[in-house]
Amino acid sequence: MLGIRPPLIIASGPGGYGEYLNLINSKCLGAYTLKTVTYKPRSLTEAPRMAFGSFYLINHIGLENPGVDKFLESLRLGRYDGIFKRTKVILSLGGDDLKEYLKITEKVKPHVDRFVAVEYNFSCPNVTKGGFLLTAKADDWARLLGRIRELLPKTFLLAKLGIEGILIERAAGYVNEAGWEGVTLVNTVRGLHMNPDGRILLGGLSGPILKPISLRAVYEVRKRYQNLYIVAAGGVYSASDAREFIAVGANAISVGSALFKDPNVIEEIGKELGGVVK
Protein backbone atom coordinates (compact mmCIF):
# COMPACT_ATOMS: atom_id res chain seq x y z
CA MET A 1 0.00 0.00 0.00
CA LEU A 2 1.09 3.52 -0.72
CA GLY A 3 -0.01 4.75 2.71
CA ILE A 4 -1.74 7.95 1.67
CA ARG A 5 -4.79 9.41 3.36
CA PRO A 6 -7.13 10.12 1.73
CA PRO A 7 -6.22 8.01 -1.31
CA LEU A 8 -6.52 11.03 -3.56
CA ILE A 9 -3.72 12.22 -5.82
CA ILE A 10 -3.22 15.22 -8.08
CA ALA A 11 -2.27 13.88 -11.50
CA SER A 12 0.98 14.63 -13.24
CA GLY A 13 0.58 17.39 -15.82
CA PRO A 14 -2.35 19.65 -14.92
CA GLY A 15 -1.01 20.14 -11.41
CA GLY A 16 2.37 21.45 -12.60
CA TYR A 17 4.92 21.67 -9.80
CA GLY A 18 2.65 22.26 -6.83
CA GLU A 19 0.96 25.49 -7.91
CA TYR A 20 -2.51 24.22 -6.98
CA LEU A 21 -1.54 23.80 -3.31
CA ASN A 22 -2.39 27.49 -2.93
CA LEU A 23 -5.97 26.82 -4.00
CA ILE A 24 -6.83 23.53 -2.35
CA ASN A 25 -7.20 22.17 1.14
CA SER A 26 -4.12 19.95 1.33
CA LYS A 27 -5.63 18.02 4.26
CA CYS A 28 -8.06 16.58 1.71
CA LEU A 29 -5.20 15.40 -0.51
CA GLY A 30 -3.11 12.23 -0.21
CA ALA A 31 -0.30 13.07 -2.63
CA TYR A 32 0.74 15.47 -5.37
CA THR A 33 2.33 14.13 -8.55
CA LEU A 34 4.78 16.56 -10.10
CA LYS A 35 4.71 17.27 -13.82
CA THR A 36 6.69 14.61 -15.71
CA VAL A 37 10.43 15.22 -15.79
CA THR A 38 12.28 13.81 -18.80
CA TYR A 39 15.95 13.03 -19.26
CA LYS A 40 16.42 15.92 -21.69
CA PRO A 41 14.60 19.25 -21.45
CA ARG A 42 11.41 19.41 -23.51
CA SER A 43 10.72 22.71 -25.18
CA LEU A 44 7.77 24.67 -26.35
CA THR A 45 5.17 23.23 -28.69
CA GLU A 46 3.17 25.46 -31.01
CA ALA A 47 0.13 27.41 -29.82
CA PRO A 48 -2.73 26.77 -29.40
CA ARG A 49 -1.77 24.15 -26.85
CA MET A 50 -5.17 23.48 -25.36
CA ALA A 51 -8.77 23.47 -26.53
CA PHE A 52 -12.01 22.02 -25.28
CA GLY A 53 -15.38 20.72 -26.39
CA SER A 54 -18.48 19.96 -24.36
CA PHE A 55 -17.08 16.79 -22.79
CA TYR A 56 -13.37 16.86 -23.45
CA LEU A 57 -10.17 18.83 -23.22
CA ILE A 58 -7.31 18.34 -25.61
CA ASN A 59 -3.75 19.46 -25.06
CA HIS A 60 -0.45 19.19 -26.80
CA ILE A 61 1.84 20.61 -24.16
CA GLY A 62 4.10 17.66 -24.93
CA LEU A 63 5.76 17.12 -21.55
CA GLU A 64 7.33 20.59 -21.51
CA ASN A 65 9.82 20.47 -18.62
CA PRO A 66 13.33 21.65 -17.74
CA GLY A 67 14.92 18.17 -17.92
CA VAL A 68 16.23 16.05 -15.07
CA ASP A 69 19.46 17.96 -14.40
CA LYS A 70 17.72 21.28 -13.85
CA PHE A 71 14.94 19.57 -11.92
CA LEU A 72 17.43 17.94 -9.52
CA GLU A 73 19.26 21.22 -9.11
CA SER A 74 15.96 22.88 -8.13
CA LEU A 75 15.22 19.99 -5.77
CA ARG A 76 18.63 20.41 -4.10
CA LEU A 77 18.11 24.17 -3.83
CA GLY A 78 14.84 23.58 -1.99
CA ARG A 79 12.53 25.04 -4.64
CA TYR A 80 10.00 22.25 -4.06
CA ASP A 81 10.30 22.18 -0.26
CA GLY A 82 6.95 23.96 0.08
CA ILE A 83 5.23 21.01 -1.60
CA PHE A 84 6.96 18.42 0.60
CA LYS A 85 5.94 20.37 3.72
CA ARG A 86 2.26 20.25 2.79
CA THR A 87 1.72 16.83 1.26
CA LYS A 88 3.35 13.64 0.06
CA VAL A 89 4.92 13.92 -3.36
CA ILE A 90 5.09 11.51 -6.29
CA LEU A 91 7.86 11.92 -8.86
CA SER A 92 6.87 11.38 -12.50
CA LEU A 93 9.57 10.41 -14.99
CA GLY A 94 9.72 10.07 -18.77
CA GLY A 95 12.17 9.81 -21.63
CA ASP A 96 12.64 9.46 -25.38
CA ASP A 97 13.78 5.83 -25.39
CA LEU A 98 14.63 2.87 -23.16
CA LYS A 99 18.16 4.13 -22.47
CA GLU A 100 16.87 7.49 -21.28
CA TYR A 101 14.49 5.80 -18.84
CA LEU A 102 17.46 3.97 -17.33
CA LYS A 103 19.69 7.04 -17.29
CA ILE A 104 17.04 9.18 -15.62
CA THR A 105 16.47 6.45 -13.04
CA GLU A 106 20.16 6.44 -12.18
CA LYS A 107 20.16 10.23 -11.87
CA VAL A 108 17.18 10.39 -9.51
CA LYS A 109 18.16 7.33 -7.47
CA PRO A 110 19.93 9.31 -4.69
CA HIS A 111 16.77 11.40 -4.21
CA VAL A 112 13.92 8.89 -4.49
CA ASP A 113 13.52 8.49 -0.74
CA ARG A 114 12.00 11.98 -0.63
CA PHE A 115 9.09 10.75 -2.74
CA VAL A 116 6.27 8.47 -1.65
CA ALA A 117 6.35 6.84 -5.10
CA VAL A 118 7.92 7.19 -8.52
CA GLU A 119 5.54 7.08 -11.46
CA TYR A 120 6.95 6.26 -14.88
CA ASN A 121 5.06 7.81 -17.75
CA PHE A 122 4.89 5.09 -20.40
CA SER A 123 1.88 6.55 -22.13
CA CYS A 124 2.12 10.24 -23.05
CA PRO A 125 0.39 10.50 -26.46
CA ASN A 126 1.84 13.96 -27.08
CA VAL A 127 5.34 12.97 -28.11
CA THR A 128 7.00 11.68 -31.25
CA LYS A 129 9.51 9.62 -29.24
CA GLY A 130 9.05 7.71 -25.98
CA GLY A 131 5.68 7.82 -24.27
CA PHE A 132 3.16 5.22 -25.41
CA LEU A 133 5.37 4.18 -28.33
CA LEU A 134 7.67 2.33 -25.92
CA THR A 135 5.06 -0.18 -24.81
CA ALA A 136 4.39 -1.23 -28.43
CA LYS A 137 7.69 -3.15 -28.34
CA ALA A 138 6.57 -5.21 -25.39
CA ASP A 139 9.60 -7.45 -24.86
CA ASP A 140 12.05 -4.53 -24.75
CA TRP A 141 9.71 -2.60 -22.49
CA ALA A 142 9.35 -5.59 -20.13
CA ARG A 143 13.15 -5.78 -19.81
CA LEU A 144 13.20 -2.06 -18.99
CA LEU A 145 10.66 -2.61 -16.20
CA GLY A 146 12.91 -5.29 -14.75
CA ARG A 147 16.02 -3.10 -14.90
CA ILE A 148 14.24 -0.19 -13.21
CA ARG A 149 13.05 -2.57 -10.46
CA GLU A 150 16.68 -3.64 -9.91
CA LEU A 151 17.85 -0.03 -9.76
CA LEU A 152 15.12 1.01 -7.32
CA PRO A 153 14.44 -2.13 -5.28
CA LYS A 154 12.72 -0.37 -2.37
CA THR A 155 10.81 2.37 -4.16
CA PHE A 156 7.04 2.25 -4.66
CA LEU A 157 6.92 2.08 -8.47
CA LEU A 158 3.90 3.01 -10.54
CA ALA A 159 3.61 2.59 -14.32
CA LYS A 160 1.31 5.13 -15.95
CA LEU A 161 -0.36 3.33 -18.83
CA GLY A 162 -2.56 4.34 -21.72
CA ILE A 163 -4.90 2.42 -23.94
CA GLU A 164 -2.72 2.71 -27.04
CA GLY A 165 0.43 0.83 -27.95
CA ILE A 166 -0.53 -2.36 -26.13
CA LEU A 167 -3.67 -3.89 -24.63
CA ILE A 168 -3.83 -2.37 -21.17
CA GLU A 169 -4.39 -5.62 -19.25
CA ARG A 170 -1.38 -7.11 -21.04
CA ALA A 171 0.72 -4.06 -20.14
CA ALA A 172 -0.40 -4.37 -16.51
CA GLY A 173 0.67 -8.01 -16.63
CA TYR A 174 4.22 -7.01 -17.57
CA VAL A 175 4.25 -4.45 -14.73
CA ASN A 176 3.07 -7.12 -12.30
CA GLU A 177 5.63 -9.67 -13.48
CA ALA A 178 8.43 -7.13 -13.08
CA GLY A 179 7.50 -6.78 -9.42
CA TRP A 180 6.30 -3.19 -9.57
CA GLU A 181 3.82 -2.08 -6.94
CA GLY A 182 1.19 -0.58 -9.19
CA VAL A 183 -0.24 1.12 -12.24
CA THR A 184 -1.93 4.43 -13.00
CA LEU A 185 -4.85 3.92 -15.38
CA VAL A 186 -5.21 5.72 -17.79
CA ASN A 187 -3.25 8.49 -19.47
CA THR A 188 -4.82 10.76 -22.09
CA VAL A 189 -5.74 9.29 -25.46
CA ARG A 190 -4.70 10.70 -28.85
CA GLY A 191 -7.35 13.04 -30.20
CA LEU A 192 -7.95 15.80 -32.72
CA HIS A 193 -9.81 19.05 -32.17
CA MET A 194 -10.83 21.25 -35.07
CA ASN A 195 -11.19 24.94 -34.30
CA PRO A 196 -14.03 26.85 -35.97
CA ASP A 197 -11.36 28.57 -38.12
CA GLY A 198 -10.26 25.17 -39.47
CA ARG A 199 -7.03 24.95 -37.48
CA ILE A 200 -6.33 21.47 -36.19
CA LEU A 201 -5.02 20.66 -32.73
CA LEU A 202 -3.56 17.18 -32.27
CA GLY A 203 -3.14 16.23 -28.66
CA GLY A 204 -4.04 14.16 -25.64
CA LEU A 205 -7.72 13.85 -24.86
CA SER A 206 -8.88 14.19 -21.25
CA GLY A 207 -12.03 15.23 -19.42
CA PRO A 208 -15.34 13.51 -18.67
CA ILE A 209 -15.28 11.68 -22.02
CA LEU A 210 -12.42 9.55 -20.70
CA LYS A 211 -14.29 8.16 -17.67
CA PRO A 212 -15.93 5.08 -19.25
CA ILE A 213 -12.58 4.16 -20.81
CA SER A 214 -10.63 4.45 -17.58
CA LEU A 215 -13.38 2.68 -15.60
CA ARG A 216 -13.14 -0.26 -18.00
CA ALA A 217 -9.35 -0.26 -17.76
CA VAL A 218 -9.43 -0.36 -13.95
CA TYR A 219 -12.08 -3.10 -14.09
CA GLU A 220 -10.10 -5.29 -16.52
CA VAL A 221 -6.80 -4.93 -14.69
CA ARG A 222 -8.29 -5.53 -11.23
CA LYS A 223 -10.04 -8.68 -12.50
CA ARG A 224 -6.66 -10.15 -13.44
CA TYR A 225 -4.29 -8.72 -10.84
CA GLN A 226 -5.67 -8.57 -7.31
CA ASN A 227 -2.44 -7.36 -5.72
CA LEU A 228 -1.52 -4.50 -8.04
CA TYR A 229 -2.10 -1.05 -6.56
CA ILE A 230 -4.33 0.82 -9.02
CA VAL A 231 -4.46 4.61 -9.26
CA ALA A 232 -7.53 5.51 -11.30
CA ALA A 233 -7.12 8.52 -13.57
CA GLY A 234 -9.21 9.94 -16.39
CA GLY A 235 -12.53 11.74 -16.19
CA VAL A 236 -12.81 12.07 -12.41
CA TYR A 237 -14.87 15.23 -11.79
CA SER A 238 -16.85 14.47 -8.64
CA ALA A 239 -17.19 12.35 -5.52
CA SER A 240 -19.67 10.10 -7.33
CA ASP A 241 -17.10 9.52 -10.10
CA ALA A 242 -14.57 8.55 -7.42
CA ARG A 243 -17.05 6.10 -5.85
CA GLU A 244 -17.46 4.34 -9.20
CA PHE A 245 -13.71 3.90 -9.60
CA ILE A 246 -13.36 2.53 -6.07
CA ALA A 247 -16.26 0.14 -6.78
CA VAL A 248 -14.48 -1.39 -9.78
CA GLY A 249 -11.23 -1.88 -7.93
CA ALA A 250 -9.20 1.32 -7.74
CA ASN A 251 -7.05 1.85 -4.66
CA ALA A 252 -6.59 5.57 -5.19
CA ILE A 253 -8.09 8.33 -7.32
CA SER A 254 -6.12 10.76 -9.42
CA VAL A 255 -7.57 14.13 -10.42
CA GLY A 256 -6.18 16.18 -13.29
CA SER A 257 -8.20 18.24 -15.77
CA ALA A 258 -11.05 18.66 -13.28
CA LEU A 259 -8.82 21.17 -11.46
CA PHE A 260 -9.35 23.57 -14.38
CA LYS A 261 -13.10 23.54 -13.82
CA ASP A 262 -13.01 23.87 -10.04
CA PRO A 263 -10.04 23.33 -7.69
CA ASN A 264 -12.59 22.66 -4.91
CA VAL A 265 -13.10 19.22 -6.46
CA ILE A 266 -10.18 18.07 -4.28
CA GLU A 267 -12.05 18.94 -1.10
CA GLU A 268 -15.23 17.28 -2.38
CA ILE A 269 -13.53 14.01 -3.30
CA GLY A 270 -11.10 14.11 -0.38
CA LYS A 271 -14.01 14.28 2.08
CA GLU A 272 -15.73 11.41 0.27
CA LEU A 273 -12.64 9.23 0.63
CA GLY A 274 -12.32 10.47 4.20
CA GLY A 275 -10.15 8.59 6.64
CA VAL A 276 -9.33 5.73 4.31
CA VAL A 277 -5.63 4.91 4.08
CA LYS A 278 -4.48 3.13 0.92
Binding site: G15, G16, Y17, Y20, R49, A51, Y56, L57, P208, K261
Partner: protein, 219 residues
Protein backbone atom coordinates in the same frame (compact mmCIF):
# COMPACT_ATOMS: atom_id res chain seq x y z
CA UNK B 1 -4.39 33.87 -4.60
CA UNK B 2 -7.51 32.18 -3.25
CA UNK B 3 -10.83 30.59 -4.12
CA UNK B 4 -13.87 32.80 -3.63
CA UNK B 5 -17.33 33.59 -4.95
CA UNK B 6 -18.24 36.76 -6.82
CA UNK B 7 -21.80 38.05 -6.47
CA UNK B 8 -23.10 40.19 -9.30
CA UNK B 9 -24.59 43.48 -8.14
CA UNK B 10 -25.17 45.20 -11.50
CA UNK B 11 -24.77 44.33 -15.17
CA UNK B 12 -24.49 47.23 -17.62
CA UNK B 13 -24.37 46.86 -21.39
CA UNK B 14 -21.39 48.70 -22.88
CA UNK B 15 -21.95 48.03 -26.59
CA UNK B 16 -23.57 45.42 -28.83
CA UNK B 17 -21.89 42.43 -27.21
CA UNK B 18 -19.86 43.63 -24.19
CA UNK B 19 -21.09 44.01 -20.61
CA UNK B 20 -19.79 45.58 -17.45
CA UNK B 21 -20.24 43.38 -14.38
CA UNK B 22 -20.08 45.01 -10.95
CA UNK B 23 -19.63 42.73 -7.94
CA UNK B 24 -20.61 43.04 -4.29
CA UNK B 25 -17.34 41.64 -2.92
CA UNK B 26 -14.22 43.60 -2.12
CA UNK B 27 -10.98 42.07 -3.36
CA UNK B 28 -7.55 43.62 -3.07
CA UNK B 29 -5.62 43.41 -6.34
CA UNK B 30 -3.09 45.34 -8.38
CA UNK B 31 -3.57 46.84 -11.86
CA UNK B 32 -2.91 44.22 -14.52
CA UNK B 33 -4.01 41.25 -12.45
CA UNK B 34 -6.80 38.94 -13.54
CA UNK B 35 -9.25 36.41 -12.18
CA UNK B 36 -10.35 32.98 -13.47
CA UNK B 37 -14.14 32.62 -13.42
CA UNK B 38 -16.18 29.44 -13.66
CA UNK B 39 -18.37 28.61 -16.63
CA UNK B 40 -20.58 25.59 -17.31
CA UNK B 41 -17.74 24.37 -19.53
CA UNK B 42 -14.61 22.46 -18.55
CA UNK B 43 -12.30 25.39 -17.96
CA UNK B 44 -12.53 28.73 -16.19
CA UNK B 45 -12.10 31.92 -18.21
CA UNK B 46 -9.62 34.74 -17.46
CA UNK B 47 -10.83 38.34 -17.01
CA UNK B 48 -8.78 41.44 -16.22
CA UNK B 49 -9.72 42.85 -12.83
CA UNK B 50 -10.84 46.43 -12.53
CA UNK B 51 -13.05 48.83 -10.64
CA UNK B 52 -16.16 50.85 -11.46
CA UNK B 53 -17.24 53.54 -9.00
CA UNK B 54 -14.83 51.95 -6.50
CA UNK B 55 -16.56 48.53 -6.74
CA UNK B 56 -14.86 45.40 -8.05
CA UNK B 57 -15.75 45.00 -11.73
CA UNK B 58 -14.87 43.19 -14.93
CA UNK B 59 -16.02 43.60 -18.52
CA UNK B 60 -17.07 40.60 -20.58
CA UNK B 61 -17.62 40.17 -24.29
CA UNK B 62 -20.51 37.74 -24.62
CA UNK B 63 -19.67 35.38 -27.45
CA UNK B 64 -20.46 31.83 -26.35
CA UNK B 65 -21.91 29.48 -23.76
CA UNK B 66 -19.38 30.34 -21.07
CA UNK B 67 -19.62 34.12 -21.29
CA UNK B 68 -23.43 33.98 -21.62
CA UNK B 69 -23.50 32.05 -18.34
CA UNK B 70 -21.31 34.67 -16.68
CA UNK B 71 -23.24 37.68 -18.00
CA UNK B 72 -26.84 36.49 -18.06
CA UNK B 73 -27.38 33.28 -16.12
CA UNK B 74 -25.36 33.07 -12.91
CA UNK B 75 -25.67 35.47 -10.00
CA UNK B 76 -22.85 33.96 -7.93
CA UNK B 77 -19.70 32.90 -9.72
CA UNK B 78 -16.93 30.69 -8.39
CA UNK B 79 -13.52 32.17 -9.10
CA UNK B 80 -9.86 32.14 -8.14
CA UNK B 81 -7.41 35.00 -8.10
CA UNK B 82 -6.03 37.59 -8.15
CA UNK B 83 -3.53 36.17 -10.60
CA UNK B 84 -0.66 37.42 -12.72
CA UNK B 85 1.92 40.14 -12.20
CA UNK B 86 0.98 43.67 -11.33
CA UNK B 87 1.59 46.21 -14.09
CA UNK B 88 4.05 48.85 -12.97
CA UNK B 89 4.14 51.60 -15.61
CA UNK B 90 7.30 53.54 -16.38
CA UNK B 91 7.76 57.17 -15.40
CA UNK B 92 5.78 59.83 -17.22
CA UNK B 93 2.34 60.30 -18.68
CA UNK B 94 0.81 57.20 -20.28
CA UNK B 95 -2.15 56.24 -22.37
CA UNK B 96 -4.23 53.06 -22.07
CA UNK B 97 -5.72 52.08 -25.42
CA UNK B 98 -8.43 49.55 -24.68
CA UNK B 99 -11.40 47.81 -26.17
CA UNK B 100 -14.64 47.71 -24.13
CA UNK B 101 -13.60 44.23 -22.85
CA UNK B 102 -10.91 45.93 -20.76
CA UNK B 103 -12.79 49.05 -19.72
CA UNK B 104 -12.82 48.31 -15.97
CA UNK B 105 -9.10 47.54 -15.93
CA UNK B 106 -8.42 50.78 -17.83
CA UNK B 107 -10.60 52.69 -15.37
CA UNK B 108 -8.63 51.31 -12.42
CA UNK B 109 -5.31 52.14 -14.08
CA UNK B 110 -6.44 55.70 -14.62
CA UNK B 111 -7.20 56.00 -10.90
CA UNK B 112 -3.85 54.51 -9.91
CA UNK B 113 -1.44 55.86 -12.54
CA UNK B 114 -0.69 59.01 -14.44
CA UNK B 115 -2.50 58.11 -17.64
CA UNK B 116 -5.30 58.86 -20.06
CA UNK B 117 -7.71 56.17 -21.31
CA UNK B 118 -8.85 55.83 -24.91
CA UNK B 119 -11.57 53.29 -25.67
CA UNK B 120 -11.90 51.94 -29.21
CA UNK B 121 -15.22 50.22 -29.78
CA UNK B 122 -16.28 48.48 -32.98
CA UNK B 123 -19.95 49.25 -32.30
CA UNK B 124 -21.95 52.10 -30.75
CA UNK B 125 -21.42 52.52 -27.00
CA UNK B 126 -24.69 52.34 -25.03
CA UNK B 127 -23.81 54.69 -22.16
CA UNK B 128 -21.36 57.50 -21.67
CA UNK B 129 -17.95 56.26 -20.59
CA UNK B 130 -15.76 58.68 -18.61
CA UNK B 131 -12.98 58.40 -21.23
CA UNK B 132 -12.26 59.51 -24.77
CA UNK B 133 -14.22 56.94 -26.80
CA UNK B 134 -14.05 56.33 -30.53
CA UNK B 135 -16.39 54.08 -32.49
CA UNK B 136 -15.32 52.16 -35.56
CA UNK B 137 -11.96 51.42 -37.18
CA UNK B 138 -11.84 54.62 -39.21
CA UNK B 139 -12.08 56.96 -36.20
CA UNK B 140 -9.67 54.82 -34.23
CA UNK B 141 -7.04 54.88 -36.97
CA UNK B 142 -7.42 58.66 -37.30
CA UNK B 143 -6.98 59.21 -33.55
CA UNK B 144 -4.06 56.87 -33.01
CA UNK B 145 -1.17 58.92 -34.52
CA UNK B 146 -2.26 61.99 -32.57
CA UNK B 147 -1.71 60.35 -29.18
CA UNK B 148 1.16 61.84 -27.19
CA UNK B 149 2.52 59.75 -24.34
CA UNK B 150 5.59 58.48 -22.51
CA UNK B 151 4.21 54.93 -22.37
CA UNK B 152 1.23 53.11 -23.85
CA UNK B 153 -0.66 50.01 -22.70
CA UNK B 154 -2.85 48.25 -25.26
CA UNK B 155 -5.64 46.01 -23.95
CA UNK B 156 -7.81 44.78 -26.78
CA UNK B 157 -8.11 42.55 -29.81
CA UNK B 158 -5.17 41.22 -31.81
CA UNK B 159 -5.97 43.67 -34.60
CA UNK B 160 -5.95 46.59 -32.14
CA UNK B 161 -2.58 45.48 -30.76
CA UNK B 162 -1.09 45.11 -34.21
CA UNK B 163 -2.18 48.52 -35.45
CA UNK B 164 -0.82 50.23 -32.31
CA UNK B 165 2.43 48.30 -32.70
CA UNK B 166 2.78 49.30 -36.35
CA UNK B 167 2.07 52.95 -35.49
CA UNK B 168 4.45 53.27 -32.56
CA UNK B 169 7.04 50.51 -32.93
CA UNK B 170 9.88 53.02 -32.96
CA UNK B 171 9.08 53.47 -29.23
CA UNK B 172 8.71 49.74 -28.59
CA UNK B 173 10.26 49.73 -25.14
CA UNK B 174 7.47 52.08 -24.05
CA UNK B 175 4.68 49.91 -25.45
CA UNK B 176 2.93 47.27 -23.34
CA UNK B 177 0.35 44.69 -24.39
CA UNK B 178 -2.07 42.42 -22.56
CA UNK B 179 -2.04 38.89 -23.97
CA UNK B 180 -5.16 36.80 -24.04
CA UNK B 181 -3.39 33.55 -24.78
CA UNK B 182 -5.53 30.56 -23.91
CA UNK B 183 -5.22 29.69 -20.23
CA UNK B 184 -6.18 26.41 -18.57
CA UNK B 185 -5.35 27.05 -14.94
CA UNK B 186 -4.23 30.69 -14.60
CA UNK B 187 -1.71 29.73 -11.89
CA UNK B 188 1.31 28.55 -13.90
CA UNK B 189 0.66 24.83 -13.53
CA UNK B 190 -0.66 23.61 -16.87
CA UNK B 191 1.77 25.41 -19.22
CA UNK B 192 -0.92 25.89 -21.87
CA UNK B 193 -0.30 29.65 -22.16
CA UNK B 194 3.44 29.57 -22.74
CA UNK B 195 5.09 31.41 -25.60
CA UNK B 196 8.59 32.21 -26.76
CA UNK B 197 9.45 35.81 -25.86
CA UNK B 198 12.64 37.57 -26.92
CA UNK B 199 14.07 36.81 -23.46
CA UNK B 200 13.01 33.14 -23.45
CA UNK B 201 10.05 31.01 -22.45
CA UNK B 202 7.24 32.95 -20.76
CA UNK B 203 3.85 32.07 -19.35
CA UNK B 204 1.03 34.56 -19.88
CA UNK B 205 -0.62 33.67 -16.57
CA UNK B 206 2.37 34.01 -14.29
CA UNK B 207 4.85 36.24 -16.13
CA UNK B 208 2.08 38.46 -17.56
CA UNK B 209 -0.60 39.00 -18.65
CA UNK B 210 1.04 42.33 -19.61
CA UNK B 211 4.28 42.26 -21.60
CA UNK B 212 6.53 44.91 -23.09
CA UNK B 213 6.22 45.21 -26.89
CA UNK B 214 9.83 44.25 -27.62
CA UNK B 215 9.31 40.96 -25.71
CA UNK B 216 6.75 39.78 -28.27
CA UNK B 217 7.21 38.27 -31.70
CA UNK B 218 5.35 40.36 -34.28
CA UNK B 219 6.26 38.33 -37.39
Amino acid sequence: MENFCLTKDKVLRINSDTYLLIFEERLPFEPGQFVMIETPQLVRKPFMLGRWNEALAISVQMKGVGTRYIVQEARKLKAHGPLGKAFVPPEGRGVVVASPTCVTMANYLQKRCNCEVVIGSKTQVRFELPFRTVVGDHEFLRLLPTLQYDWCLVAGSDSMKRVVWETFKNKKEHLFFTLEEYMGCGVGACKSCSFLASSGLKYVCKDGPIFRGDELCWE
